[in-house]
Protein backbone atom coordinates (compact mmCIF):
# COMPACT_ATOMS: atom_id res chain seq x y z
CA UNK A 1 0.00 0.00 0.00
CA UNK A 2 1.11 3.52 -0.64
CA UNK A 3 2.78 5.10 2.32
CA UNK A 4 2.37 8.60 0.96
CA UNK A 5 -1.34 8.42 1.50
CA UNK A 6 -1.47 10.51 4.62
CA UNK A 7 0.91 13.17 3.31
CA UNK A 8 -1.22 16.10 2.55
CA UNK A 9 -1.90 16.98 -1.01
CA UNK A 10 -0.19 20.33 -0.59
CA UNK A 11 2.98 18.83 0.85
CA UNK A 12 3.33 16.46 -2.11
CA UNK A 13 2.88 19.32 -4.55
CA UNK A 14 5.42 21.47 -2.75
CA UNK A 15 8.09 18.77 -2.79
CA UNK A 16 7.35 18.13 -6.46
CA UNK A 17 7.53 21.83 -7.24
CA UNK A 18 10.89 22.17 -5.56
CA UNK A 19 12.17 19.08 -7.35
CA UNK A 20 11.18 20.43 -10.76
CA UNK A 21 12.72 23.83 -10.06
CA UNK A 22 16.01 22.36 -8.85
CA UNK A 23 16.10 20.02 -11.83
CA UNK A 24 15.44 22.89 -14.24
CA UNK A 25 18.11 25.08 -12.66
CA UNK A 26 20.66 22.26 -12.63
CA UNK A 27 19.95 21.69 -16.31
CA UNK A 28 20.91 25.17 -17.45
CA UNK A 29 23.75 25.48 -14.96
CA UNK A 30 25.24 22.20 -16.15
CA UNK A 31 25.30 23.45 -19.73
CA UNK A 32 26.25 27.04 -18.82
CA UNK A 33 28.51 27.33 -21.83
CA UNK A 34 25.44 27.10 -24.03
CA UNK A 35 23.00 28.88 -21.76
CA UNK A 36 24.83 31.72 -20.01
CA UNK A 37 27.87 32.62 -22.08
CA UNK A 38 26.28 33.42 -25.47
CA UNK A 39 23.88 36.09 -24.15
CA UNK A 40 26.71 37.65 -22.15
CA UNK A 41 28.95 37.84 -25.25
CA UNK A 42 26.06 39.18 -27.28
CA UNK A 43 25.39 41.95 -24.82
CA UNK A 44 29.09 42.74 -24.62
CA UNK A 45 29.23 43.21 -28.40
CA UNK A 46 26.18 45.46 -28.40
CA UNK A 47 27.69 47.59 -25.69
CA UNK A 48 31.03 47.83 -27.50
CA UNK A 49 29.57 48.59 -30.91
CA UNK A 50 26.38 50.51 -30.27
CA UNK A 51 27.13 51.99 -26.91
CA UNK A 52 30.84 52.58 -27.33
CA UNK A 53 31.54 53.20 -31.02
CA UNK A 54 28.27 54.60 -32.30
CA UNK A 55 26.96 55.90 -29.01
CA UNK A 56 29.96 58.19 -28.58
CA UNK A 57 28.70 60.15 -31.62
CA UNK A 58 25.17 60.41 -30.24
CA UNK A 59 24.51 63.20 -27.80
CA UNK A 60 21.71 61.85 -25.66
CA UNK A 61 18.72 59.58 -25.92
CA UNK A 62 15.63 60.13 -23.82
CA UNK A 63 17.65 62.52 -21.66
CA UNK A 64 20.44 60.05 -20.84
CA UNK A 65 23.86 59.20 -22.30
CA UNK A 66 23.31 56.66 -25.07
CA UNK A 67 25.13 53.86 -23.27
CA UNK A 68 23.02 54.34 -20.17
CA UNK A 69 19.95 54.34 -22.35
CA UNK A 70 20.61 51.00 -24.08
CA UNK A 71 21.90 49.00 -21.11
CA UNK A 72 18.47 48.46 -19.49
CA UNK A 73 17.09 47.33 -22.86
CA UNK A 74 19.95 44.89 -23.36
CA UNK A 75 19.45 43.39 -19.92
CA UNK A 76 15.75 43.04 -20.58
CA UNK A 77 16.33 41.45 -23.97
CA UNK A 78 18.54 38.82 -22.31
CA UNK A 79 15.91 38.15 -19.65
CA UNK A 80 13.13 37.82 -22.22
CA UNK A 81 14.89 35.53 -24.68
CA UNK A 82 16.48 33.34 -22.02
CA UNK A 83 13.46 32.75 -19.84
CA UNK A 84 11.43 31.99 -22.94
CA UNK A 85 13.85 29.57 -24.53
CA UNK A 86 14.72 27.85 -21.27
CA UNK A 87 11.15 26.72 -20.79
CA UNK A 88 10.34 26.05 -24.44
CA UNK A 89 13.41 23.91 -25.00
CA UNK A 90 13.28 22.14 -21.66
CA UNK A 91 9.60 21.31 -21.95
CA UNK A 92 9.97 20.22 -25.53
CA UNK A 93 12.93 18.00 -24.78
CA UNK A 94 10.97 16.43 -21.91
CA UNK A 95 8.24 15.73 -24.42
CA UNK A 96 10.67 14.51 -27.04
CA UNK A 97 12.41 12.07 -24.68
CA UNK A 98 9.02 11.27 -23.17
CA UNK A 99 10.25 11.74 -19.62
CA UNK A 100 7.43 14.28 -19.31
CA UNK A 101 5.44 11.13 -18.55
CA UNK A 102 7.21 10.97 -15.18
CA UNK A 103 5.42 14.19 -14.31
CA UNK A 104 2.14 13.29 -15.94
CA UNK A 105 1.76 10.12 -13.89
CA UNK A 106 2.86 11.78 -10.66
CA UNK A 107 0.13 12.63 -8.13
CA UNK A 108 0.48 16.37 -8.61
CA UNK A 109 -1.60 19.12 -10.15
CA UNK A 110 -0.86 20.63 -13.53
CA UNK A 111 -0.39 23.96 -11.81
CA UNK A 112 2.62 22.48 -9.98
CA UNK A 113 4.13 21.37 -13.28
CA UNK A 114 3.48 24.79 -14.79
CA UNK A 115 4.93 26.62 -11.80
CA UNK A 116 8.00 24.39 -11.72
CA UNK A 117 8.89 25.01 -15.34
CA UNK A 118 8.09 28.71 -15.14
CA UNK A 119 10.19 29.29 -12.03
CA UNK A 120 13.01 27.37 -13.73
CA UNK A 121 12.72 29.78 -16.67
CA UNK A 122 12.63 32.78 -14.34
CA UNK A 123 15.84 31.59 -12.68
CA UNK A 124 17.55 31.32 -16.05
CA UNK A 125 16.29 34.75 -17.11
CA UNK A 126 17.46 36.35 -13.86
CA UNK A 127 20.77 34.56 -13.95
CA UNK A 128 21.53 35.77 -17.47
CA UNK A 129 20.15 39.22 -16.63
CA UNK A 130 22.56 39.52 -13.73
CA UNK A 131 25.49 38.39 -15.88
CA UNK A 132 24.63 40.99 -18.54
CA UNK A 133 24.23 43.64 -15.84
CA UNK A 134 27.67 42.77 -14.50
CA UNK A 135 29.14 43.05 -18.00
CA UNK A 136 27.52 46.46 -18.37
CA UNK A 137 29.35 47.69 -15.28
CA UNK A 138 32.45 47.93 -17.49
CA UNK A 139 30.66 50.58 -19.53
CA UNK A 140 28.40 52.45 -17.18
CA UNK A 141 27.44 52.90 -13.56
CA UNK A 142 24.33 50.84 -13.17
CA UNK A 143 22.64 52.14 -10.05
CA UNK A 144 18.87 51.67 -10.12
CA UNK A 145 16.78 54.69 -9.21
CA UNK A 146 14.01 52.44 -7.97
CA UNK A 147 15.22 49.07 -6.76
CA UNK A 148 11.83 47.58 -6.14
CA UNK A 149 10.47 48.54 -9.55
CA UNK A 150 13.59 47.24 -11.28
CA UNK A 151 13.39 43.86 -9.59
CA UNK A 152 9.63 43.56 -9.91
CA UNK A 153 9.64 44.37 -13.63
CA UNK A 154 12.43 41.88 -14.23
CA UNK A 155 10.72 39.03 -12.39
CA UNK A 156 7.30 39.71 -13.92
CA UNK A 157 8.81 39.89 -17.39
CA UNK A 158 10.64 36.61 -16.82
CA UNK A 159 7.40 35.00 -15.63
CA UNK A 160 5.51 36.25 -18.66
CA UNK A 161 8.04 34.96 -21.16
CA UNK A 162 8.51 31.69 -19.33
CA UNK A 163 4.78 31.18 -19.74
CA UNK A 164 5.12 32.03 -23.42
CA UNK A 165 7.94 29.51 -23.72
CA UNK A 166 5.83 26.87 -21.98
CA UNK A 167 2.98 27.37 -24.44
CA UNK A 168 5.47 27.15 -27.29
CA UNK A 169 6.90 23.93 -25.82
CA UNK A 170 3.43 22.45 -25.46
CA UNK A 171 2.60 23.02 -29.11
CA UNK A 172 6.05 22.27 -30.53
CA UNK A 173 6.41 19.12 -32.58
CA UNK A 174 10.01 19.58 -33.63
CA UNK A 175 13.11 21.45 -32.55
CA UNK A 176 12.44 23.93 -35.35
CA UNK A 177 9.17 24.85 -33.74
CA UNK A 178 10.93 26.11 -30.65
CA UNK A 179 13.34 28.36 -32.50
CA UNK A 180 10.75 29.98 -34.77
CA UNK A 181 9.19 32.20 -32.13
CA UNK A 182 12.44 33.50 -30.61
CA UNK A 183 13.89 34.22 -34.06
CA UNK A 184 10.89 35.58 -35.87
CA UNK A 185 8.81 37.09 -33.09
CA UNK A 186 10.77 37.80 -29.92
CA UNK A 187 13.91 39.22 -31.45
CA UNK A 188 12.03 41.66 -33.75
CA UNK A 189 9.73 42.68 -30.91
CA UNK A 190 12.65 43.42 -28.62
CA UNK A 191 14.50 45.42 -31.28
CA UNK A 192 11.33 47.34 -32.06
CA UNK A 193 10.55 47.65 -28.37
CA UNK A 194 12.87 50.59 -27.98
CA UNK A 195 16.14 49.05 -26.82
CA UNK A 196 18.15 51.36 -29.05
CA UNK A 197 15.86 54.34 -29.46
CA UNK A 198 13.24 56.31 -27.64
CA UNK A 199 9.86 56.08 -29.32
CA UNK A 200 9.73 59.88 -29.25
CA UNK A 201 11.91 59.61 -32.33
CA UNK A 202 9.19 57.84 -34.25
CA UNK A 203 6.40 59.42 -36.24
CA UNK A 204 3.05 59.50 -34.41
CA UNK A 205 1.85 56.57 -36.50
CA UNK A 206 4.76 54.32 -35.55
CA UNK A 207 4.55 55.50 -31.96
CA UNK A 208 1.01 54.17 -31.87
CA UNK A 209 2.06 50.92 -33.50
CA UNK A 210 4.84 50.54 -30.94
CA UNK A 211 2.31 50.73 -28.14
CA UNK A 212 0.91 47.39 -29.33
CA UNK A 213 4.29 45.79 -28.70
CA UNK A 214 4.27 44.26 -25.21
CA UNK A 215 8.05 44.27 -25.04
CA UNK A 216 7.92 48.09 -25.15
CA UNK A 217 6.30 48.13 -21.74
CA UNK A 218 8.86 45.85 -20.19
CA UNK A 219 11.86 47.63 -21.55
CA UNK A 220 10.47 50.99 -20.54
CA UNK A 221 9.32 49.75 -17.17
CA UNK A 222 12.79 48.42 -16.50
CA UNK A 223 14.40 51.58 -17.84
CA UNK A 224 12.22 53.57 -15.48
CA UNK A 225 13.45 51.44 -12.59
CA UNK A 226 17.08 52.03 -13.52
CA UNK A 227 17.10 55.56 -14.90
CA UNK A 228 14.03 57.03 -13.24
CA UNK A 229 12.40 58.04 -16.50
CA UNK A 230 11.06 56.34 -19.60
CA UNK A 231 8.61 56.66 -22.48
CA UNK A 232 5.81 54.82 -20.70
CA UNK A 233 3.96 55.42 -17.43
CA UNK A 234 5.24 52.79 -15.01
CA UNK A 235 1.70 51.93 -13.83
CA UNK A 236 0.67 51.22 -17.39
CA UNK A 237 3.76 49.08 -17.84
CA UNK A 238 2.92 46.99 -14.75
CA UNK A 239 -0.70 46.71 -15.81
CA UNK A 240 0.21 45.41 -19.25
CA UNK A 241 2.73 42.89 -17.95
CA UNK A 242 0.39 41.53 -15.29
CA UNK A 243 -2.47 41.29 -17.77
CA UNK A 244 -0.25 39.25 -20.08
CA UNK A 245 0.80 36.97 -17.23
CA UNK A 246 -2.81 36.27 -16.31
CA UNK A 247 -3.85 35.54 -19.88
CA UNK A 248 -0.82 33.41 -20.76
CA UNK A 249 -0.98 31.58 -17.43
CA UNK A 250 -4.61 30.77 -18.00
CA UNK A 251 -3.94 29.51 -21.52
CA UNK A 252 -0.95 27.41 -20.45
CA UNK A 253 -2.84 25.78 -17.60
CA UNK A 254 -5.78 25.03 -19.85
CA UNK A 255 -3.52 23.42 -22.42
CA UNK A 256 -1.91 21.24 -19.75
CA UNK A 257 -5.30 20.28 -18.33
CA UNK A 258 -6.52 19.30 -21.76
CA UNK A 259 -3.31 17.39 -22.40
CA UNK A 260 -2.66 19.22 -25.66
CA UNK A 261 0.51 17.95 -27.28
CA UNK A 262 1.20 15.50 -24.45
CA UNK A 263 -1.78 13.16 -24.17
CA UNK A 264 -3.58 11.24 -26.88
Amino acid sequence: MSDTNDNSHLAVNLVAFRTIVVREVMRFVRIWVQTITPPAINALLYMLIFGGLIGSRIEEMGGHPYMDFIVPGLIMMAVIINSYSNVSSSFFSNKFQRNIEELLIAPISNFTILAGFVVGGVCRGLCVGVVVAVVSLFFTKLVPEHYFITIAVTILTAIMFSLGGLINGIFARSFDDISIVPNFVLTPLTYLGGIFYSIEFLSPFWQTVSLANPVMYMINGFRFGILGSSDIDIRVAFGVIIAFIIVLGFIALRLLNRGVGIKH
Binding site: T4, V15, A16, T19, E101, S109
Partner: protein, 304 residues
Protein backbone atom coordinates in the same frame (compact mmCIF):
# COMPACT_ATOMS: atom_id res chain seq x y z
CA UNK B 1 -10.99 -4.50 -2.29
CA UNK B 2 -10.32 -4.19 -5.99
CA UNK B 3 -7.03 -2.74 -7.15
CA UNK B 4 -8.44 -1.96 -10.56
CA UNK B 5 -11.93 -1.73 -11.99
CA UNK B 6 -12.55 -0.89 -15.63
CA UNK B 7 -16.12 -0.35 -16.82
CA UNK B 8 -17.21 -0.04 -20.45
CA UNK B 9 -14.00 1.66 -21.40
CA UNK B 10 -13.91 3.09 -24.90
CA UNK B 11 -11.01 4.87 -26.52
CA UNK B 12 -11.29 6.49 -29.89
CA UNK B 13 -8.05 8.15 -30.99
CA UNK B 14 -8.07 11.47 -32.81
CA UNK B 15 -7.75 9.74 -36.16
CA UNK B 16 -11.04 7.97 -35.46
CA UNK B 17 -9.53 4.58 -34.64
CA UNK B 18 -11.33 2.79 -31.85
CA UNK B 19 -8.63 1.03 -29.85
CA UNK B 20 -10.90 0.02 -26.96
CA UNK B 21 -14.49 -0.94 -27.60
CA UNK B 22 -16.11 -1.24 -24.21
CA UNK B 23 -13.58 -3.01 -22.03
CA UNK B 24 -14.54 -4.46 -18.66
CA UNK B 25 -11.96 -5.74 -16.24
CA UNK B 26 -11.57 -6.23 -12.52
CA UNK B 27 -8.35 -7.02 -10.73
CA UNK B 28 -8.43 -7.81 -7.04
CA UNK B 29 -5.97 -6.31 -4.61
CA UNK B 30 -2.98 -8.59 -4.13
CA UNK B 31 -3.43 -10.35 -7.45
CA UNK B 32 -0.71 -11.11 -9.95
CA UNK B 33 -2.49 -10.55 -13.20
CA UNK B 34 -1.59 -10.98 -16.86
CA UNK B 35 -3.17 -8.93 -19.61
CA UNK B 36 -2.53 -10.81 -22.81
CA UNK B 37 -3.34 -10.04 -26.39
CA UNK B 38 -1.82 -9.77 -29.84
CA UNK B 39 -0.07 -6.67 -31.15
CA UNK B 40 -2.47 -3.78 -31.46
CA UNK B 41 -5.08 -5.36 -29.20
CA UNK B 42 -5.29 -2.26 -27.02
CA UNK B 43 -3.19 -3.27 -24.00
CA UNK B 44 -1.01 -0.20 -23.94
CA UNK B 45 -4.00 2.01 -24.64
CA UNK B 46 -5.79 0.60 -21.59
CA UNK B 47 -2.66 1.03 -19.47
CA UNK B 48 -2.30 4.59 -20.77
CA UNK B 49 -5.80 5.41 -19.60
CA UNK B 50 -5.26 3.79 -16.19
CA UNK B 51 -2.16 5.93 -15.69
CA UNK B 52 -3.68 9.18 -17.03
CA UNK B 53 -1.41 9.32 -20.07
CA UNK B 54 -4.27 8.69 -22.47
CA UNK B 55 -7.69 10.29 -22.20
CA UNK B 56 -10.64 7.92 -22.17
CA UNK B 57 -13.43 8.55 -24.67
CA UNK B 58 -16.02 7.05 -22.36
CA UNK B 59 -16.29 4.58 -19.53
CA UNK B 60 -14.76 4.53 -16.08
CA UNK B 61 -11.52 3.39 -14.54
CA UNK B 62 -10.75 3.33 -10.85
CA UNK B 63 -7.58 2.43 -8.98
CA UNK B 64 -8.20 1.29 -5.41
CA UNK B 65 -11.59 2.96 -5.60
CA UNK B 66 -10.30 6.29 -6.94
CA UNK B 67 -11.67 7.30 -10.30
CA UNK B 68 -8.75 8.22 -12.57
CA UNK B 69 -10.62 11.16 -14.08
CA UNK B 70 -12.46 12.47 -11.01
CA UNK B 71 -9.66 11.97 -8.50
CA UNK B 72 -6.53 11.66 -10.61
CA UNK B 73 -4.09 12.50 -7.84
CA UNK B 74 -5.44 9.91 -5.41
CA UNK B 75 -5.44 7.29 -8.16
CA UNK B 76 -1.92 8.15 -9.28
CA UNK B 77 -0.54 7.84 -5.75
CA UNK B 78 -1.49 4.19 -5.77
CA UNK B 79 -0.04 3.45 -9.17
CA UNK B 80 3.42 2.57 -10.42
CA UNK B 81 3.95 2.31 -14.15
CA UNK B 82 6.58 0.55 -16.24
CA UNK B 83 5.74 1.70 -19.76
CA UNK B 84 6.37 -0.26 -22.92
CA UNK B 85 8.59 2.41 -24.43
CA UNK B 86 11.74 3.64 -22.71
CA UNK B 87 11.05 7.17 -21.49
CA UNK B 88 14.06 8.42 -19.59
CA UNK B 89 15.85 11.69 -19.79
CA UNK B 90 18.88 10.39 -21.66
CA UNK B 91 21.42 12.64 -19.99
CA UNK B 92 20.66 12.51 -16.28
CA UNK B 93 22.49 10.06 -14.01
CA UNK B 94 20.09 7.28 -13.17
CA UNK B 95 20.31 7.81 -9.42
CA UNK B 96 19.25 11.40 -10.01
CA UNK B 97 16.34 10.22 -12.17
CA UNK B 98 15.03 8.06 -9.34
CA UNK B 99 15.47 10.76 -6.71
CA UNK B 100 13.65 13.27 -8.92
CA UNK B 101 10.78 10.90 -9.58
CA UNK B 102 10.61 10.41 -5.82
CA UNK B 103 10.35 14.19 -5.56
CA UNK B 104 7.51 14.34 -8.09
CA UNK B 105 5.73 11.92 -5.80
CA UNK B 106 6.28 14.08 -2.76
CA UNK B 107 9.16 12.10 -1.26
CA UNK B 108 11.87 14.19 0.34
CA UNK B 109 15.30 13.93 -1.21
CA UNK B 110 17.03 11.92 1.54
CA UNK B 111 14.26 9.40 1.76
CA UNK B 112 14.08 9.12 -2.03
CA UNK B 113 17.81 8.53 -2.16
CA UNK B 114 17.58 5.67 0.34
CA UNK B 115 14.77 4.06 -1.59
CA UNK B 116 16.63 4.52 -4.87
CA UNK B 117 19.68 2.83 -3.39
CA UNK B 118 17.54 -0.04 -2.16
CA UNK B 119 15.89 -0.72 -5.50
CA UNK B 120 19.02 -0.14 -7.56
CA UNK B 121 20.75 -2.72 -5.39
CA UNK B 122 17.92 -5.18 -5.67
CA UNK B 123 17.85 -4.83 -9.43
CA UNK B 124 21.67 -4.99 -9.72
CA UNK B 125 22.03 -1.44 -11.00
CA UNK B 126 23.76 0.26 -8.09
CA UNK B 127 27.15 0.13 -9.83
CA UNK B 128 25.61 2.08 -12.69
CA UNK B 129 24.10 4.81 -10.53
CA UNK B 130 26.26 7.54 -12.03
CA UNK B 131 25.69 6.41 -15.62
CA UNK B 132 23.09 8.17 -17.73
CA UNK B 133 20.21 6.20 -19.18
CA UNK B 134 21.69 6.17 -22.66
CA UNK B 135 24.74 4.37 -21.25
CA UNK B 136 22.62 1.43 -20.06
CA UNK B 137 21.88 -1.73 -22.00
CA UNK B 138 18.31 -2.49 -23.00
CA UNK B 139 17.83 -4.94 -20.14
CA UNK B 140 19.26 -2.47 -17.64
CA UNK B 141 16.85 0.22 -18.84
CA UNK B 142 13.94 -2.16 -18.32
CA UNK B 143 15.10 -2.83 -14.75
CA UNK B 144 15.60 0.87 -14.14
CA UNK B 145 12.00 1.45 -15.19
CA UNK B 146 10.92 -1.03 -12.53
CA UNK B 147 12.96 0.74 -9.85
CA UNK B 148 11.49 4.06 -10.93
CA UNK B 149 7.94 2.72 -10.78
CA UNK B 150 8.42 1.52 -7.21
CA UNK B 151 10.03 4.57 -5.67
CA UNK B 152 6.74 5.77 -4.13
CA UNK B 153 5.70 2.27 -2.98
CA UNK B 154 2.59 1.98 -5.12
CA UNK B 155 -0.13 -0.50 -4.26
CA UNK B 156 -0.62 -1.36 -7.91
CA UNK B 157 2.29 -1.93 -10.25
CA UNK B 158 1.54 -2.13 -13.96
CA UNK B 159 4.24 -3.38 -16.31
CA UNK B 160 3.78 -3.13 -20.07
CA UNK B 161 5.98 -5.84 -21.58
CA UNK B 162 8.68 -5.53 -18.93
CA UNK B 163 10.74 -8.40 -20.27
CA UNK B 164 10.68 -7.58 -24.00
CA UNK B 165 14.21 -8.05 -25.27
CA UNK B 166 15.58 -9.20 -21.92
CA UNK B 167 17.82 -12.27 -21.79
CA UNK B 168 16.73 -15.45 -20.03
CA UNK B 169 18.86 -14.99 -16.94
CA UNK B 170 17.79 -11.42 -16.29
CA UNK B 171 14.21 -12.32 -17.10
CA UNK B 172 14.27 -14.99 -14.40
CA UNK B 173 15.71 -12.57 -11.89
CA UNK B 174 13.02 -10.03 -12.78
CA UNK B 175 10.42 -12.74 -12.24
CA UNK B 176 11.85 -13.52 -8.80
CA UNK B 177 11.88 -9.85 -7.94
CA UNK B 178 8.27 -9.33 -8.99
CA UNK B 179 7.11 -12.46 -7.21
CA UNK B 180 8.75 -11.22 -4.03
CA UNK B 181 7.08 -7.81 -4.41
CA UNK B 182 3.75 -9.52 -4.78
CA UNK B 183 4.21 -12.03 -1.98
CA UNK B 184 6.05 -9.95 0.62
CA UNK B 185 4.64 -6.46 0.09
CA UNK B 186 1.25 -7.43 -1.21
CA UNK B 187 1.78 -5.24 -4.26
CA UNK B 188 -0.85 -5.94 -6.88
CA UNK B 189 0.88 -6.57 -10.19
CA UNK B 190 -0.55 -6.42 -13.68
CA UNK B 191 1.70 -7.20 -16.59
CA UNK B 192 1.39 -7.60 -20.31
CA UNK B 193 3.60 -10.01 -22.12
CA UNK B 194 3.87 -11.93 -25.34
CA UNK B 195 5.51 -14.87 -23.59
CA UNK B 196 2.91 -17.30 -22.42
CA UNK B 197 5.37 -19.06 -20.17
CA UNK B 198 5.88 -15.77 -18.37
CA UNK B 199 2.18 -15.43 -17.62
CA UNK B 200 2.13 -19.09 -16.68
CA UNK B 201 5.07 -18.78 -14.31
CA UNK B 202 3.98 -15.60 -12.59
CA UNK B 203 0.31 -14.89 -12.80
CA UNK B 204 -2.73 -16.27 -11.04
CA UNK B 205 -5.32 -14.58 -13.20
CA UNK B 206 -5.38 -13.53 -16.78
CA UNK B 207 -7.47 -11.56 -19.22
CA UNK B 208 -7.18 -11.80 -22.96
CA UNK B 209 -7.87 -8.72 -25.00
CA UNK B 210 -8.38 -8.71 -28.73
CA UNK B 211 -9.34 -5.82 -30.98
CA UNK B 212 -10.25 -3.64 -28.06
CA UNK B 213 -12.43 -6.07 -26.12
CA UNK B 214 -11.74 -8.52 -23.34
CA UNK B 215 -12.49 -11.91 -24.88
CA UNK B 216 -11.58 -14.12 -21.94
CA UNK B 217 -10.86 -13.71 -18.27
CA UNK B 218 -10.10 -16.27 -15.62
CA UNK B 219 -7.49 -18.23 -13.75
CA UNK B 220 -4.32 -18.97 -15.66
CA UNK B 221 -4.51 -22.62 -14.73
CA UNK B 222 -8.00 -23.10 -16.06
CA UNK B 223 -7.28 -21.27 -19.30
CA UNK B 224 -4.16 -23.29 -19.89
CA UNK B 225 -6.02 -26.51 -19.41
CA UNK B 226 -8.24 -25.45 -22.27
CA UNK B 227 -5.27 -25.07 -24.50
CA UNK B 228 -3.93 -28.55 -24.08
CA UNK B 229 -2.83 -28.63 -27.64
CA UNK B 230 0.70 -29.10 -28.81
CA UNK B 231 2.21 -28.12 -32.10
CA UNK B 232 5.01 -30.09 -33.74
CA UNK B 233 7.03 -29.27 -36.80
CA UNK B 234 8.22 -32.25 -38.81
CA UNK B 235 10.90 -32.09 -41.48
CA UNK B 236 10.47 -34.76 -44.12
CA UNK B 237 12.77 -36.08 -46.77
CA UNK B 238 10.12 -35.60 -49.46
CA UNK B 239 6.80 -33.86 -49.87
CA UNK B 240 3.80 -36.12 -49.20
CA UNK B 241 1.46 -36.58 -52.17
CA UNK B 242 -1.52 -35.84 -49.98
CA UNK B 243 -1.69 -34.79 -46.37
CA UNK B 244 -2.61 -37.78 -44.22
CA UNK B 245 -6.13 -37.61 -42.75
CA UNK B 246 -6.02 -38.74 -39.15
CA UNK B 247 -8.18 -38.65 -36.05
CA UNK B 248 -7.24 -35.99 -33.53
CA UNK B 249 -4.36 -34.69 -35.59
CA UNK B 250 -4.75 -31.42 -37.46
CA UNK B 251 -2.30 -30.59 -40.16
CA UNK B 252 -2.01 -26.84 -40.08
CA UNK B 253 0.43 -26.11 -42.79
CA UNK B 254 2.09 -28.12 -45.42
CA UNK B 255 4.95 -26.58 -47.29
CA UNK B 256 7.07 -28.81 -49.45
CA UNK B 257 8.99 -30.97 -47.00
CA UNK B 258 7.60 -29.56 -43.80
CA UNK B 259 4.50 -30.40 -41.82
CA UNK B 260 3.08 -28.47 -38.93
CA UNK B 261 0.74 -30.60 -36.91
CA UNK B 262 -1.44 -29.87 -33.96
CA UNK B 263 -2.42 -32.57 -31.51
CA UNK B 264 -4.25 -32.66 -28.21
CA UNK B 265 -1.65 -33.15 -25.52
CA UNK B 266 -1.00 -36.84 -24.90
CA UNK B 267 -2.12 -38.02 -28.32
CA UNK B 268 -0.19 -40.90 -29.77
CA UNK B 269 1.78 -39.78 -32.82
CA UNK B 270 2.39 -43.32 -34.12
CA UNK B 271 -0.54 -43.16 -36.51
CA UNK B 272 1.03 -40.09 -38.13
CA UNK B 273 4.35 -41.80 -38.58
CA UNK B 274 2.62 -44.90 -39.92
CA UNK B 275 0.69 -42.85 -42.47
CA UNK B 276 3.87 -41.17 -43.63
CA UNK B 277 5.62 -44.51 -43.71
CA UNK B 278 2.92 -45.84 -46.07
CA UNK B 279 3.83 -43.02 -48.48
CA UNK B 280 7.51 -43.97 -48.01
CA UNK B 281 8.31 -40.67 -46.45
CA UNK B 282 10.99 -40.41 -43.77
CA UNK B 283 10.71 -38.02 -40.86
CA UNK B 284 14.14 -36.44 -40.68
CA UNK B 285 13.55 -34.34 -37.59
CA UNK B 286 10.80 -33.22 -35.33
CA UNK B 287 10.53 -30.37 -32.84
CA UNK B 288 7.98 -28.99 -30.46
CA UNK B 289 7.05 -25.51 -31.56
CA UNK B 290 7.32 -23.15 -28.60
CA UNK B 291 3.92 -22.33 -27.35
CA UNK B 292 3.88 -18.57 -27.83
CA UNK B 293 0.94 -16.48 -26.89
CA UNK B 294 -0.10 -15.91 -30.47
CA UNK B 295 -0.87 -19.58 -31.05
CA UNK B 296 -2.53 -20.02 -27.72
CA UNK B 297 -4.55 -16.95 -28.45
CA UNK B 298 -5.52 -17.98 -31.96
CA UNK B 299 -6.75 -21.34 -30.73
CA UNK B 300 -8.74 -19.67 -28.03
CA UNK B 301 -10.39 -17.30 -30.45
CA UNK B 302 -11.03 -20.08 -32.96
CA UNK B 303 -12.67 -22.18 -30.27
CA UNK B 304 -15.17 -19.46 -29.42
Amino acid sequence: MNALVINDLVKRYDNGFEALKGCNLTVEAGDFFALLGPNGAGKSTAIGIISSLVRPTSGRVSVFGHDVVQEPEAAKRMLGLVPQEINFNQFEPILEILINVGGYNGIARNEARDRAEHYLNQLSLWDKRRASARELSGGMKRRLMIARALIHHPGLLILDEPTAGVDIEIRRSMWDFLQKMNADNGTTIILTTHYLEEAEALCRNVAIIDQGSIVEQGQVASLLSRSMVETFVLDLDAAPESPPLLDNITINSLSDNRLEVEVPRGTNLNQLFAALERQSIQVMSMRNKTNRLEEFFLRLVKSQ
